[in-house]
Symmetry: C2
Subunit: 363 residues, 2 copies
């Protein structure tokens, strides 16, 4: 294997995770939690997964409200490895700032951006995919990792593949023809049956300077401002609030794909974005498919009579569930959620309702 | 209307209400709670319902652990109106002791025994039925009140009626042919279709001395001991623990029915024993049949998205329910129950499980 000394892991740690309320809150988002009962938070698990590739070369980009919690969970990181945003500006400014910081440290730097709140079960396969992506990124490609679909999911965007690139060391690499939005069920079925589409897991591997050059084609002012902040962090205060809220997909990935500048590495490593409690229940059922009630917190406090689904007993109270299928019960100190896996997407409506009622403190 | 000066209301206030856990507990049974959101506890509502008939002539028989709570809820009662049992001995010793106390005060006393934890919605019809029952009781009958079935319930015993008695002032009175146990669904259907059966609501109206004479035929020692305790309350300590645990139905009502000594007054007054959360939900739906989520505590703390059923938010926490039909969520300070109306009978299994786990403090 070739050296990865030019590879930097960037971990954007943001998002409120409103569909995982009341476990995830604006003030305590899902990446800070051990949602799967693995013994470590999603953020910490993300760092553990990346450190064999990136060693000390890790940047976390997070909201200033979460910087202290991030440092507490990752005490091995040097102080300047946690980059704080004064306000959320979506993924492009966050990853773009990381790129601007990294190109100053190493003009050859390749960055890989991986969300702090995803789960990956097959780490070796993930590492192999990232290594292939780095090979392609060094050749000037914007590289995404295309996860092999295991079902016709409607909750993810898809990547439409083109021809193999035939690059040594990146045998799974292909051209990307286009990124497509989250499909309806029939379209998702067609995508998966065609064999031409992969899930877009939001992972990008790209030279830091390449990324900024691609960004400059669509957002030259944003690119300039990110480089100014990287060279003089005191400018964060006045410049950051002026930056546009824009996702990396729209700002860079989609236009670059249209220009034939994007590659995809095919991979399959048990990826899950834990978008809601149904997907969390799906992860927990992977190793043991028996229908039963799975407990992610407070095992001793749960009484289950003829029930299946997911329970978190996180308040110290006894939680009794009687005669329910695929139920979701999330019990926390100040809020309780009861729903079904089928309706897990609608949990965000509770958060909206609480905000309308002036109970934003609970969200 | 004739005088009711000889009529005494006896309110047995016992039973843990395990199918209403965690609202009802051994330490805080259902009669102490305002389960229906009426603004007063079931016990207090029972007293309110009886006082127009009995005025000051009320006895409450309860466990010594609940005497203080009973007195606090019924501060108008004189001290000797609350009779305390050192340990639970089922309904016969409780009602029999009341009878023994009352026959000493008034040899002509007629007592009516009405559980502290039932709901009656049509009070005038209830009063009319009791007045008829008193007329029959004065003639030496053991009188029960037979509630007109509104559906083929399997949760109640039934009364099989015989011929009308033709007594002036008790026009709904009939002979009782037999009491029958809780039936299965097909049998219940047959009972209701036949028109011959009424629900046994566990209400008895009978002369105090008549009751003790009937009891003496099956349990002479018990009768003697109850009279000894009534004459010398200091004997409670040594005699009460020796009394048999026996229900009034088995000790008196069934044998007396076989001997042709029992009458029934037909009535219809919106009776419900609130046996479980399904029957509680049924009461709440009576005035407004629209399928919706009914809240019996903490209305402001409940967020309902597309849900129907029953919620108690009694812990001060927010309770959010998303996409569930006929759900039951009972949230208290130290325990949470989630079930369905269909499985409401199985809530008692939670209580059993907690006792087995050494968490009897929660039951």
């Amino acid at each position: 294997m070739t050296s990865m000394d030019d590879f930097w892991a960037v971990i954007p740690a943001g998002g409120a995770g409103t569909r995982l309320w009341p476990m995830s809150r604006r003030t305590s988002p899902k990446f800070l939690h051990d949602l799967t009962g693995s013994g470590q938070s999603l953020l910490r698990a993300t760092w553990e997964r990346l450190s064999p590739l990136a060693a000390e070369r890790v940047l976390v980009v997070t909201g200033s409200a979460h910087a202290e919690a991030v440092r507490a969970q990752l005490p091995m990181l040097p102080r300047d490895a946690v980059v704080t945003e004064p306000s959320p500006r979506d993924s492009m400014p966050a990853i773009g700032l990381a790129a601007a910081i990294l190109e100053r440290r190493d003009p050859e730097a390749v960055l890989g951006s991986f969300a702090a709140d995803h789960v990956i079960t097959e780490v070796a396969a993930f590492h192999a995919a990232v290594r292939q992506a780095v090979v392609l990124a060094r050749r000037g490609e914007l590289v995404t990792i295309g996860v092999e679909p295991t079902h016709a999911a409607t909750g993810f965007g898809y990547i439409r593949e083109g021809d193999p690139l035939g690059v040594v060391g990146a045998e799974s690499g292909r051209r990307v023809r286009e990124f497509v939005e989250k499909p309806d069920a029939a379209t998702a079925r067609r995508y998966v049956d065609s064999g031409e589409f992969r899930w877009n897991a939001g992972m990008f591997v790209v030279g830091a300077t390449t990324l900024l050059e691609l960004l400059a084609q669509t957002h030259p002012d944003l690119t300039d401002n990110l480089r100014i902040i990287a060279s003089d962090p005191r400018r964060m205060t006045d410049l950051w609030p002026t930056l546009p809220k824009v996702a990396i997909d729209h700002a860079v990935a989609e236009p670059a794909a249209a220009a034939g500048r994007v590659a995809v590495v095919r991979a399959s490593f048990g990826w899950n974005d834990i978008g809601d409690f149904a997907s969390l229940a799906g992860i927990l059922a992977e190793s043991d498919r028996a229908p039963r009630l799975r407990v992610i917190a407070g095992e001793d406090d749960v009484v289950s009579i003829d029930s299946t689904g997911l329970v978190a007993a996180d308040s110290g109270r006894v939680v009794a569930v009687v005669g329910l299928e695929d139920i979701v019960v999330i019990d926390t100190a100040d809020a309780l959620l009861v729903t079904t896996q089928e309706r897990a997407q609608d949990v965000k409506r509770v958060v909206e309702e609480l905000q309308q009622r002036g109970r934003a403190d609970l969200t």
